[in-house]
Protein backbone atom coordinates (compact mmCIF):
# COMPACT_ATOMS: atom_id res chain seq x y z
CA UNK A 1 0.00 0.00 0.00
CA UNK A 2 1.46 3.34 -1.03
CA UNK A 3 2.16 6.12 1.45
CA UNK A 4 -0.67 8.33 0.19
CA UNK A 5 -3.17 5.51 0.24
CA UNK A 6 -2.23 4.80 3.84
CA UNK A 7 -2.64 8.46 4.69
CA UNK A 8 -6.06 8.46 2.96
CA UNK A 9 -7.18 5.40 4.93
CA UNK A 10 -6.01 7.01 8.18
CA UNK A 11 -7.88 10.23 7.33
CA UNK A 12 -11.10 8.34 6.57
CA UNK A 13 -10.82 6.31 9.77
CA UNK A 14 -10.20 9.49 11.77
CA UNK A 15 -13.22 11.25 10.23
CA UNK A 16 -15.43 8.21 10.91
CA UNK A 17 -14.16 7.93 14.50
CA UNK A 18 -14.66 11.64 15.22
CA UNK A 19 -18.17 11.63 13.73
CA UNK A 20 -19.04 8.56 15.81
CA UNK A 21 -17.88 10.40 18.90
CA UNK A 22 -20.06 13.42 18.10
CA UNK A 23 -22.19 13.07 21.25
CA UNK A 24 -19.06 13.21 23.46
CA UNK A 25 -17.15 15.83 21.48
CA UNK A 26 -20.14 18.14 21.04
CA UNK A 27 -22.53 17.40 23.90
CA UNK A 28 -24.71 20.44 23.06
CA UNK A 29 -26.08 18.54 20.06
CA UNK A 30 -26.87 19.74 16.57
CA UNK A 31 -30.28 21.28 17.25
CA UNK A 32 -29.85 23.23 20.47
CA UNK A 33 -30.16 26.94 19.83
CA UNK A 34 -28.13 29.52 21.71
CA UNK A 35 -30.13 32.66 20.80
CA UNK A 36 -27.68 34.85 22.71
CA UNK A 37 -24.86 33.81 20.41
CA UNK A 38 -26.58 33.59 17.00
CA UNK A 39 -24.09 33.92 14.13
CA UNK A 40 -21.20 34.08 16.61
CA UNK A 41 -17.57 33.58 15.45
CA UNK A 42 -15.46 30.69 16.84
CA UNK A 43 -14.99 30.76 20.59
CA UNK A 44 -14.08 28.42 23.42
CA UNK A 45 -17.77 27.42 23.75
CA UNK A 46 -18.36 27.09 19.98
CA UNK A 47 -15.17 25.98 18.17
CA UNK A 48 -16.55 26.76 14.72
CA UNK A 49 -18.95 29.47 15.84
CA UNK A 50 -22.73 29.23 15.54
CA UNK A 51 -25.16 29.48 12.65
CA UNK A 52 -27.75 32.20 12.21
CA UNK A 53 -30.12 30.69 14.79
CA UNK A 54 -27.38 29.97 17.34
CA UNK A 55 -26.72 26.25 16.72
CA UNK A 56 -23.19 25.00 17.36
CA UNK A 57 -21.53 24.62 13.94
CA UNK A 58 -18.93 22.11 15.19
CA UNK A 59 -21.70 19.80 16.47
CA UNK A 60 -23.58 20.18 13.20
CA UNK A 61 -20.45 19.33 11.19
CA UNK A 62 -19.88 16.19 13.26
CA UNK A 63 -23.49 15.01 13.07
CA UNK A 64 -23.73 16.01 9.40
CA UNK A 65 -20.58 13.99 8.69
CA UNK A 66 -22.16 11.02 10.41
CA UNK A 67 -25.29 11.25 8.26
CA UNK A 68 -23.49 11.84 4.96
CA UNK A 69 -20.74 9.34 5.58
CA UNK A 70 -22.98 6.50 6.75
CA UNK A 71 -25.91 6.87 4.44
CA UNK A 72 -23.82 7.28 1.27
CA UNK A 73 -22.50 3.68 1.65
CA UNK A 74 -26.08 2.51 2.24
CA UNK A 75 -27.17 4.18 -1.00
CA UNK A 76 -24.08 2.77 -2.73
CA UNK A 77 -25.06 -0.70 -1.52
CA UNK A 78 -28.59 -0.33 -2.94
CA UNK A 79 -27.30 0.95 -6.28
CA UNK A 80 -24.64 -1.78 -6.53
CA UNK A 81 -27.17 -4.53 -5.77
CA UNK A 82 -29.56 -3.09 -8.35
CA UNK A 83 -26.74 -2.89 -10.88
CA UNK A 84 -25.82 -6.51 -10.17
CA UNK A 85 -29.43 -7.62 -10.54
CA UNK A 86 -30.31 -5.60 -13.63
CA UNK A 87 -26.95 -5.38 -15.41
CA UNK A 88 -25.26 -8.56 -14.19
CA UNK A 89 -28.29 -10.81 -14.63
CA UNK A 90 -29.23 -9.33 -18.02
CA UNK A 91 -25.65 -9.67 -19.23
CA UNK A 92 -25.56 -13.27 -18.04
CA UNK A 93 -28.89 -14.09 -19.73
CA UNK A 94 -27.79 -12.25 -22.89
CA UNK A 95 -29.94 -11.78 -25.99
CA UNK A 96 -33.17 -9.79 -25.63
CA UNK A 97 -32.71 -9.46 -21.84
CA UNK A 98 -29.34 -7.76 -22.24
CA UNK A 99 -30.64 -5.49 -25.02
CA UNK A 100 -33.70 -4.45 -22.98
CA UNK A 101 -31.66 -3.80 -19.82
CA UNK A 102 -29.12 -1.77 -21.74
CA UNK A 103 -31.84 0.26 -23.46
CA UNK A 104 -33.25 1.23 -20.05
CA UNK A 105 -29.76 1.92 -18.75
CA UNK A 106 -28.91 4.12 -21.73
CA UNK A 107 -32.15 6.03 -21.24
CA UNK A 108 -31.18 6.79 -17.64
CA UNK A 109 -27.60 7.62 -18.61
CA UNK A 110 -28.76 10.04 -21.30
CA UNK A 111 -30.49 12.17 -18.66
CA UNK A 112 -28.22 14.59 -16.75
CA UNK A 113 -27.70 13.01 -13.33
CA UNK A 114 -28.18 16.12 -11.21
CA UNK A 115 -31.29 17.28 -13.08
CA UNK A 116 -32.77 13.82 -12.77
CA UNK A 117 -32.12 13.83 -9.02
CA UNK A 118 -33.58 17.30 -8.58
CA UNK A 119 -36.66 16.45 -10.67
CA UNK A 120 -37.41 13.21 -8.85
CA UNK A 121 -36.82 14.77 -5.44
CA UNK A 122 -38.98 17.77 -6.35
CA UNK A 123 -41.79 15.43 -7.40
CA UNK A 124 -41.85 13.92 -3.92
CA UNK A 125 -43.33 15.76 -0.90
CA UNK A 126 -40.90 18.33 0.46
CA UNK A 127 -42.65 18.90 3.77
CA UNK A 128 -41.57 15.69 5.46
CA UNK A 129 -39.99 14.77 8.78
CA UNK A 130 -36.17 15.06 8.97
CA UNK A 131 -35.72 11.30 9.40
CA UNK A 132 -37.95 10.62 6.37
CA UNK A 133 -36.05 13.19 4.32
CA UNK A 134 -32.80 11.32 5.05
CA UNK A 135 -34.40 8.08 3.94
CA UNK A 136 -35.89 9.62 0.78
CA UNK A 137 -32.66 11.41 -0.19
CA UNK A 138 -30.47 8.34 0.01
CA UNK A 139 -33.09 6.00 -1.42
CA UNK A 140 -33.33 8.26 -4.47
CA UNK A 141 -29.56 8.22 -4.80
CA UNK A 142 -29.49 4.45 -4.52
CA UNK A 143 -32.44 3.82 -6.83
CA UNK A 144 -31.28 6.20 -9.55
CA UNK A 145 -27.54 5.74 -9.28
CA UNK A 146 -27.20 2.14 -10.50
CA UNK A 147 -27.15 2.72 -14.25
CA UNK A 148 -23.45 3.34 -14.92
CA UNK A 149 -22.53 0.33 -12.77
CA UNK A 150 -25.18 -1.78 -14.55
CA UNK A 151 -23.47 -1.20 -17.88
CA UNK A 152 -20.14 -2.46 -16.54
CA UNK A 153 -21.81 -5.44 -14.85
CA UNK A 154 -23.77 -6.31 -17.99
CA UNK A 155 -20.50 -6.65 -19.87
CA UNK A 156 -19.05 -8.70 -16.99
CA UNK A 157 -22.11 -10.98 -16.91
CA UNK A 158 -21.90 -11.48 -20.68
CA UNK A 159 -18.27 -12.52 -20.53
CA UNK A 160 -18.90 -14.87 -17.58
CA UNK A 161 -21.76 -16.60 -19.43
CA UNK A 162 -19.30 -18.00 -21.96
CA UNK A 163 -16.66 -19.20 -19.52
CA UNK A 164 -15.70 -22.85 -19.27
CA UNK A 165 -16.68 -23.08 -15.60
CA UNK A 166 -20.24 -21.89 -16.33
CA UNK A 167 -20.46 -24.38 -19.21
CA UNK A 168 -19.16 -27.09 -16.87
CA UNK A 169 -21.72 -26.13 -14.20
CA UNK A 170 -24.53 -26.23 -16.79
CA UNK A 171 -23.28 -29.62 -17.93
CA UNK A 172 -23.59 -30.77 -14.30
CA UNK A 173 -27.31 -30.00 -14.41
CA UNK A 174 -27.23 -26.95 -12.14
CA UNK A 175 -30.34 -24.77 -12.50
CA UNK A 176 -30.26 -21.32 -14.08
CA UNK A 177 -31.05 -19.26 -10.98
CA UNK A 178 -28.61 -21.19 -8.79
CA UNK A 179 -26.04 -20.96 -11.55
CA UNK A 180 -26.28 -17.16 -11.43
CA UNK A 181 -26.28 -16.74 -7.64
CA UNK A 182 -23.70 -19.36 -6.71
CA UNK A 183 -21.46 -19.59 -9.76
CA UNK A 184 -21.64 -16.29 -11.63
CA UNK A 185 -22.22 -13.62 -8.97
CA UNK A 186 -19.14 -14.47 -6.85
CA UNK A 187 -17.03 -13.88 -9.94
CA UNK A 188 -18.45 -10.36 -10.22
CA UNK A 189 -17.20 -9.50 -6.73
CA UNK A 190 -14.14 -7.45 -7.78
CA UNK A 191 -16.32 -5.33 -10.10
CA UNK A 192 -19.08 -5.05 -7.48
CA UNK A 193 -16.61 -3.91 -4.80
CA UNK A 194 -15.11 -1.32 -7.14
CA UNK A 195 -18.55 -0.01 -8.15
CA UNK A 196 -19.62 0.17 -4.50
CA UNK A 197 -16.59 2.21 -3.44
CA UNK A 198 -16.71 4.45 -6.51
CA UNK A 199 -20.38 5.26 -5.80
CA UNK A 200 -19.77 6.49 -2.24
CA UNK A 201 -17.95 9.78 -3.03
CA UNK A 202 -20.31 10.36 -5.98
CA UNK A 203 -23.32 10.01 -3.67
CA UNK A 204 -21.75 12.22 -0.98
CA UNK A 205 -21.33 14.96 -3.59
CA UNK A 206 -24.83 14.40 -4.97
CA UNK A 207 -26.36 14.67 -1.50
CA UNK A 208 -24.38 17.86 -0.96
CA UNK A 209 -25.75 19.24 -4.24
CA UNK A 210 -29.33 18.41 -3.22
CA UNK A 211 -28.70 19.92 0.23
CA UNK A 212 -27.46 23.20 -1.25
CA UNK A 213 -30.70 23.41 -3.24
CA UNK A 214 -32.77 22.66 -0.14
CA UNK A 215 -33.90 19.30 -1.53
CA UNK A 216 -31.73 17.10 0.67
CA UNK A 217 -31.90 16.25 4.34
CA UNK A 218 -34.51 18.39 6.10
CA UNK A 219 -33.81 20.74 9.01
CA UNK A 220 -32.92 20.51 11.82
CA UNK A 221 -30.91 17.40 10.84
CA UNK A 222 -27.56 18.50 9.46
CA UNK A 223 -25.79 17.06 6.43
CA UNK A 224 -22.85 18.29 4.41
CA UNK A 225 -25.27 19.64 1.83
CA UNK A 226 -27.29 21.71 4.33
CA UNK A 227 -24.05 22.94 5.94
CA UNK A 228 -22.71 24.05 2.55
CA UNK A 229 -25.94 25.97 2.01
CA UNK A 230 -24.58 28.47 4.55
CA UNK A 231 -22.00 29.54 1.98
CA UNK A 232 -24.76 30.96 -0.23
CA UNK A 233 -24.85 34.30 1.58
CA UNK A 234 -21.09 34.65 1.98
CA UNK A 235 -19.76 37.89 0.51
CA UNK A 236 -16.00 37.13 0.59
CA UNK A 237 -13.88 34.10 1.40
CA UNK A 238 -11.89 35.90 4.08
CA UNK A 239 -14.99 37.18 5.85
CA UNK A 240 -15.90 34.03 7.81
CA UNK A 241 -13.38 31.33 6.87
CA UNK A 242 -14.66 28.89 9.51
CA UNK A 243 -17.79 28.41 7.41
CA UNK A 244 -15.60 26.62 4.90
CA UNK A 245 -14.84 23.76 7.28
CA UNK A 246 -17.68 21.51 5.92
CA UNK A 247 -16.48 22.19 2.37
CA UNK A 248 -12.88 21.42 3.36
CA UNK A 249 -14.03 18.21 5.05
CA UNK A 250 -16.00 17.22 1.96
CA UNK A 251 -12.97 17.78 -0.27
CA UNK A 252 -10.68 15.85 2.09
CA UNK A 253 -13.08 12.90 2.40
CA UNK A 254 -13.81 12.65 -1.35
CA UNK A 255 -10.09 12.95 -2.17
CA UNK A 256 -9.27 10.28 0.41
CA UNK A 257 -11.89 7.99 -1.10
CA UNK A 258 -10.39 8.52 -4.56
CA UNK A 259 -6.91 7.65 -3.24
CA UNK A 260 -8.20 4.48 -1.59
CA UNK A 261 -10.21 3.63 -4.70
CA UNK A 262 -7.24 3.66 -7.03
CA UNK A 263 -6.49 0.20 -5.56
CA UNK A 264 -10.08 -0.93 -6.15
CA UNK A 265 -9.84 0.14 -9.78
CA UNK A 266 -6.76 -2.04 -10.18
CA UNK A 267 -8.65 -4.99 -8.68
CA UNK A 268 -11.60 -4.44 -11.04
CA UNK A 269 -9.28 -4.15 -14.04
Amino acid sequence: MSFWRRVACAVLLLVVAVSLGASSLAPAGYAKQDREAAGAPPSHAHWLGTDEIGRDRFARVLYGTRISLFLAPAAALISTLLAALVGGLAGYLGGAWARAAMAITDLFLSLPWLFLLITVRALLPLNVSPAFSVLVTFLILGLLGWTAAARVLCATGGSLRNTDFVRQARASGIRGTRLFWIHVLPNMKPVLYAQFWISIPAFILSEANLGILGLGVAEPLPSWGSLLKELEGLVSVGEEPWKFVPLLLLVIVVTSFQLVLSKQDEVAA
Binding site: D164, Q168, A171, S172, G173, I174, H183
Partner: protein, 282 residues
Amino acid sequence: MFRNDRVLTDKSQRDALLSAHLSVQYGNKPPVLRGVQLDIQHGEVLGLIGQSGSGKSTLAMAILGLIDRKRVDAQGSIFFEGSDLLTLREAALRSLRGRKIALVLQSPLSSLNPALKIRTQLRETWRAHASGSSADCDSTIRKALESVSLPSDDDFLRKYPAQMSVGQAQRVLIAMAVVHRPALLIADEATSALDVITQAEILKLFRELNQNFGMAILYISHDLASVAGICDRVAILHQGEIVEFGNTQKVLTSPSHEYTQRLLAAMPRMPQASFAAKAAAR
Protein backbone atom coordinates in the same frame (compact mmCIF):
# COMPACT_ATOMS: atom_id res chain seq x y z
CA MET B 1 -35.76 -26.35 -35.66
CA PHE B 2 -35.71 -30.00 -34.59
CA ARG B 3 -36.95 -32.91 -36.61
CA ASN B 4 -36.88 -36.56 -35.86
CA ASP B 5 -36.20 -38.39 -39.12
CA ARG B 6 -34.34 -41.32 -37.61
CA VAL B 7 -35.53 -44.86 -38.03
CA LEU B 8 -33.74 -47.38 -35.87
CA THR B 9 -33.23 -50.51 -37.82
CA ASP B 10 -29.88 -51.91 -36.83
CA LYS B 11 -30.00 -54.03 -33.64
CA SER B 12 -26.70 -52.76 -32.23
CA GLN B 13 -27.99 -49.23 -32.58
CA ARG B 14 -31.30 -50.14 -30.94
CA ASP B 15 -29.45 -51.67 -27.98
CA ALA B 16 -26.93 -48.87 -27.79
CA LEU B 17 -26.64 -46.55 -24.81
CA LEU B 18 -26.58 -43.64 -27.24
CA SER B 19 -27.36 -43.60 -30.92
CA ALA B 20 -27.01 -40.39 -32.90
CA HIS B 21 -27.85 -39.36 -36.43
CA LEU B 22 -27.26 -35.67 -36.54
CA SER B 23 -26.74 -32.60 -38.69
CA VAL B 24 -26.01 -29.24 -37.11
CA GLN B 25 -25.89 -25.84 -38.76
CA TYR B 26 -25.29 -22.39 -37.27
CA GLY B 27 -27.54 -19.94 -39.13
CA ASN B 28 -26.68 -19.72 -42.83
CA LYS B 29 -23.12 -20.96 -42.35
CA PRO B 30 -22.01 -24.31 -43.78
CA PRO B 31 -23.11 -27.27 -41.60
CA VAL B 32 -20.80 -28.09 -38.70
CA LEU B 33 -22.04 -31.70 -38.57
CA ARG B 34 -23.37 -33.43 -41.69
CA GLY B 35 -25.33 -36.60 -41.12
CA VAL B 36 -23.06 -37.81 -38.36
CA GLN B 37 -24.10 -41.32 -37.41
CA LEU B 38 -22.61 -43.09 -34.43
CA ASP B 39 -23.57 -45.23 -31.48
CA ILE B 40 -22.06 -45.78 -28.06
CA GLN B 41 -22.59 -49.17 -26.45
CA HIS B 42 -23.03 -49.68 -22.70
CA GLY B 43 -19.67 -49.68 -20.95
CA GLU B 44 -17.53 -49.03 -24.01
CA VAL B 45 -14.95 -46.34 -24.62
CA LEU B 46 -15.54 -44.71 -27.98
CA GLY B 47 -12.91 -42.41 -29.41
CA LEU B 48 -13.86 -39.43 -31.55
CA ILE B 49 -10.91 -38.11 -33.51
CA GLY B 50 -10.80 -34.99 -35.62
CA GLN B 51 -8.78 -31.86 -36.09
CA SER B 52 -9.75 -28.49 -34.61
CA GLY B 53 -13.01 -27.21 -36.11
CA SER B 54 -14.14 -30.61 -37.34
CA GLY B 55 -17.26 -30.50 -35.11
CA LYS B 56 -16.18 -32.72 -32.19
CA SER B 57 -17.19 -30.30 -29.44
CA THR B 58 -20.43 -29.40 -31.25
CA LEU B 59 -21.37 -33.08 -31.14
CA ALA B 60 -20.59 -33.20 -27.40
CA MET B 61 -22.64 -30.06 -26.74
CA ALA B 62 -25.51 -31.42 -28.85
CA ILE B 63 -25.58 -34.64 -26.81
CA LEU B 64 -25.74 -32.56 -23.61
CA GLY B 65 -28.39 -30.27 -25.08
CA LEU B 66 -26.12 -27.29 -24.54
CA ILE B 67 -26.29 -25.86 -28.03
CA ASP B 68 -28.35 -22.70 -28.39
CA ARG B 69 -31.60 -24.00 -29.86
CA LYS B 70 -32.61 -20.54 -31.07
CA ARG B 71 -29.48 -20.02 -33.13
CA VAL B 72 -28.64 -23.55 -34.12
CA ASP B 73 -30.49 -25.78 -36.55
CA ALA B 74 -30.07 -29.37 -35.32
CA GLN B 75 -31.76 -32.07 -37.36
CA GLY B 76 -31.91 -35.80 -36.79
CA SER B 77 -31.97 -37.59 -33.48
CA ILE B 78 -29.86 -38.49 -30.47
CA PHE B 79 -31.41 -41.49 -28.75
CA PHE B 80 -30.22 -42.00 -25.17
CA GLU B 81 -31.81 -44.71 -23.03
CA GLY B 82 -34.89 -44.65 -25.24
CA SER B 83 -35.42 -40.88 -25.38
CA ASP B 84 -34.58 -38.58 -28.25
CA LEU B 85 -32.49 -35.85 -26.62
CA LEU B 86 -33.26 -33.42 -29.44
CA THR B 87 -36.96 -33.45 -28.63
CA LEU B 88 -36.63 -33.20 -24.84
CA ARG B 89 -37.53 -30.01 -23.01
CA GLU B 90 -34.85 -28.09 -21.11
CA ALA B 91 -36.01 -29.39 -17.70
CA ALA B 92 -35.76 -33.00 -18.87
CA LEU B 93 -32.34 -32.38 -20.39
CA ARG B 94 -31.14 -30.72 -17.19
CA SER B 95 -32.19 -33.76 -15.17
CA LEU B 96 -29.97 -35.90 -17.43
CA ARG B 97 -26.96 -33.58 -17.37
CA GLY B 98 -24.49 -34.57 -14.70
CA ARG B 99 -26.71 -37.47 -13.55
CA LYS B 100 -26.79 -39.65 -16.67
CA ILE B 101 -24.43 -37.81 -19.01
CA ALA B 102 -21.44 -35.97 -17.60
CA LEU B 103 -18.82 -33.75 -19.20
CA VAL B 104 -15.13 -33.18 -18.61
CA LEU B 105 -13.71 -30.24 -20.52
CA GLN B 106 -10.24 -29.60 -21.88
CA SER B 107 -8.82 -26.93 -19.61
CA PRO B 108 -9.13 -28.03 -15.97
CA LEU B 109 -8.21 -24.74 -14.35
CA SER B 110 -10.65 -22.68 -16.40
CA SER B 111 -13.39 -25.31 -16.05
CA LEU B 112 -13.38 -25.01 -12.28
CA ASN B 113 -14.97 -21.92 -10.77
CA PRO B 114 -12.08 -19.73 -9.54
CA ALA B 115 -14.24 -18.06 -6.89
CA LEU B 116 -15.47 -21.25 -5.22
CA LYS B 117 -13.78 -23.78 -2.99
CA ILE B 118 -13.55 -27.36 -4.21
CA ARG B 119 -16.00 -28.46 -1.51
CA THR B 120 -18.61 -25.94 -2.74
CA GLN B 121 -18.20 -26.99 -6.36
CA LEU B 122 -18.57 -30.67 -5.52
CA ARG B 123 -21.54 -29.97 -3.25
CA GLU B 124 -23.23 -27.96 -5.97
CA THR B 125 -22.79 -30.84 -8.40
CA TRP B 126 -24.27 -33.26 -5.85
CA ARG B 127 -27.19 -30.97 -4.98
CA ALA B 128 -28.10 -30.57 -8.65
CA HIS B 129 -29.58 -34.09 -8.60
CA ALA B 130 -29.74 -35.25 -4.99
CA SER B 131 -31.24 -34.16 -1.73
CA GLY B 132 -30.19 -35.15 1.75
CA SER B 133 -28.17 -34.09 4.71
CA SER B 134 -24.76 -32.41 4.56
CA ALA B 135 -23.29 -35.63 5.92
CA ASP B 136 -24.72 -37.61 2.96
CA CYS B 137 -23.36 -35.00 0.58
CA ASP B 138 -19.90 -34.96 2.17
CA SER B 139 -19.76 -38.73 2.20
CA THR B 140 -20.58 -38.89 -1.53
CA ILE B 141 -18.09 -36.21 -2.53
CA ARG B 142 -15.33 -37.81 -0.45
CA LYS B 143 -15.99 -41.12 -2.20
CA ALA B 144 -15.89 -39.36 -5.58
CA LEU B 145 -12.54 -37.78 -4.71
CA GLU B 146 -11.16 -41.11 -3.54
CA SER B 147 -12.32 -42.77 -6.76
CA VAL B 148 -10.05 -40.40 -8.68
CA SER B 149 -7.14 -40.87 -6.25
CA LEU B 150 -7.38 -37.44 -4.67
CA PRO B 151 -7.20 -36.65 -0.95
CA SER B 152 -10.63 -36.15 0.61
CA ASP B 153 -9.59 -34.35 3.78
CA ASP B 154 -10.90 -30.93 4.82
CA ASP B 155 -7.63 -29.19 3.92
CA PHE B 156 -8.00 -30.31 0.32
CA LEU B 157 -11.71 -29.50 0.18
CA ARG B 158 -10.98 -25.97 1.38
CA LYS B 159 -8.67 -25.30 -1.57
CA TYR B 160 -9.47 -23.00 -4.47
CA PRO B 161 -8.67 -24.17 -8.02
CA ALA B 162 -5.72 -21.75 -8.22
CA GLN B 163 -4.11 -23.61 -5.30
CA MET B 164 -3.96 -26.90 -7.20
CA SER B 165 -1.82 -28.38 -9.96
CA VAL B 166 -3.34 -28.89 -13.42
CA GLY B 167 -3.41 -32.65 -12.87
CA GLN B 168 -5.22 -32.29 -9.54
CA ALA B 169 -7.70 -29.86 -11.09
CA GLN B 170 -8.43 -32.34 -13.89
CA ARG B 171 -9.02 -35.09 -11.31
CA VAL B 172 -11.39 -32.78 -9.41
CA LEU B 173 -13.30 -32.19 -12.65
CA ILE B 174 -13.52 -35.92 -13.20
CA ALA B 175 -14.63 -36.40 -9.58
CA MET B 176 -17.39 -33.84 -10.20
CA ALA B 177 -18.38 -35.70 -13.35
CA VAL B 178 -18.64 -39.07 -11.59
CA VAL B 179 -20.42 -37.91 -8.40
CA HIS B 180 -23.71 -39.32 -9.72
CA ARG B 181 -22.11 -42.27 -11.52
CA PRO B 182 -23.37 -41.27 -14.99
CA ALA B 183 -23.92 -43.89 -17.67
CA LEU B 184 -21.96 -41.79 -20.17
CA LEU B 185 -18.95 -39.59 -19.58
CA ILE B 186 -17.97 -37.20 -22.35
CA ALA B 187 -14.29 -36.30 -22.16
CA ASP B 188 -13.88 -33.37 -24.54
CA GLU B 189 -10.12 -33.05 -25.17
CA ALA B 190 -9.78 -33.85 -21.47
CA THR B 191 -6.10 -34.73 -21.71
CA SER B 192 -4.99 -32.24 -24.36
CA ALA B 193 -3.85 -29.55 -21.92
CA LEU B 194 -1.84 -31.96 -19.77
CA ASP B 195 1.81 -32.94 -19.81
CA VAL B 196 2.51 -36.51 -20.96
CA ILE B 197 2.91 -37.99 -17.48
CA THR B 198 -0.29 -36.42 -16.14
CA GLN B 199 -1.98 -37.40 -19.41
CA ALA B 200 -1.03 -41.04 -18.85
CA GLU B 201 -2.35 -40.88 -15.27
CA ILE B 202 -5.68 -39.42 -16.40
CA LEU B 203 -6.02 -42.03 -19.16
CA LYS B 204 -5.41 -44.75 -16.57
CA LEU B 205 -8.08 -43.13 -14.42
CA PHE B 206 -10.58 -43.14 -17.31
CA ARG B 207 -9.85 -46.80 -17.90
CA GLU B 208 -10.43 -47.59 -14.20
CA LEU B 209 -13.71 -45.65 -14.16
CA ASN B 210 -14.80 -47.53 -17.25
CA GLN B 211 -13.88 -50.92 -15.82
CA ASN B 212 -14.95 -50.36 -12.19
CA PHE B 213 -18.24 -48.59 -12.78
CA GLY B 214 -19.10 -49.76 -16.30
CA MET B 215 -19.23 -46.14 -17.37
CA ALA B 216 -19.29 -45.58 -21.12
CA ILE B 217 -16.88 -42.88 -22.25
CA LEU B 218 -16.98 -40.72 -25.36
CA TYR B 219 -13.31 -39.79 -25.55
CA ILE B 220 -12.92 -36.80 -27.86
CA SER B 221 -9.39 -36.03 -28.88
CA HIS B 222 -7.04 -35.18 -31.71
CA ASP B 223 -4.31 -37.24 -30.07
CA LEU B 224 -4.21 -40.62 -31.82
CA ALA B 225 -1.82 -42.19 -29.29
CA SER B 226 -4.14 -41.57 -26.34
CA VAL B 227 -7.14 -42.80 -28.33
CA ALA B 228 -5.25 -45.97 -29.27
CA GLY B 229 -4.44 -46.53 -25.60
CA ILE B 230 -7.95 -46.32 -24.22
CA CYS B 231 -10.67 -46.72 -26.85
CA ASP B 232 -12.50 -49.87 -27.93
CA ARG B 233 -13.82 -48.26 -31.11
CA VAL B 234 -12.99 -45.06 -32.87
CA ALA B 235 -14.80 -42.63 -35.17
CA ILE B 236 -12.87 -40.25 -37.42
CA LEU B 237 -14.62 -36.92 -37.90
CA HIS B 238 -13.57 -34.81 -40.87
CA GLN B 239 -15.29 -31.57 -41.90
CA GLY B 240 -18.45 -32.51 -40.04
CA GLU B 241 -18.68 -36.07 -41.39
CA ILE B 242 -17.70 -39.40 -39.91
CA VAL B 243 -15.34 -40.77 -42.52
CA GLU B 244 -14.33 -43.94 -40.73
CA PHE B 245 -15.79 -45.81 -37.77
CA GLY B 246 -14.84 -49.13 -36.26
CA ASN B 247 -12.52 -51.14 -34.08
CA THR B 248 -9.65 -48.92 -32.87
CA GLN B 249 -6.87 -51.31 -33.83
CA LYS B 250 -8.34 -51.90 -37.28
CA VAL B 251 -8.93 -48.22 -38.04
CA LEU B 252 -5.54 -47.10 -36.80
CA THR B 253 -3.48 -49.92 -38.32
CA SER B 254 -5.21 -50.27 -41.67
CA PRO B 255 -7.09 -47.07 -42.35
CA SER B 256 -9.30 -47.11 -45.40
CA HIS B 257 -10.07 -43.40 -45.73
CA GLU B 258 -7.54 -41.00 -47.15
CA TYR B 259 -8.03 -38.52 -44.29
CA THR B 260 -7.30 -41.19 -41.65
CA GLN B 261 -4.17 -42.14 -43.55
CA ARG B 262 -3.08 -38.49 -43.55
CA LEU B 263 -3.79 -38.23 -39.83
CA LEU B 264 -1.68 -41.29 -39.11
CA ALA B 265 1.13 -40.06 -41.35
CA ALA B 266 1.13 -36.71 -39.56
CA MET B 267 1.40 -38.38 -36.14
CA PRO B 268 4.68 -37.36 -34.41
CA ARG B 269 7.16 -40.22 -34.16
CA MET B 270 9.47 -41.15 -31.32
CA PRO B 271 12.98 -39.70 -31.85
CA GLN B 272 14.55 -43.11 -32.55
CA ALA B 273 11.99 -43.88 -35.24
CA SER B 274 12.50 -40.41 -36.67
CA PHE B 275 16.26 -40.91 -36.81
CA ALA B 276 15.77 -44.26 -38.57
CA ALA B 277 13.41 -42.63 -41.08
CA LYS B 278 15.95 -39.86 -41.73
CA ALA B 279 18.76 -42.40 -42.19
CA ALA B 280 16.63 -44.41 -44.61
CA ALA B 281 15.87 -41.27 -46.59
CA ARG B 282 19.59 -40.52 -46.98
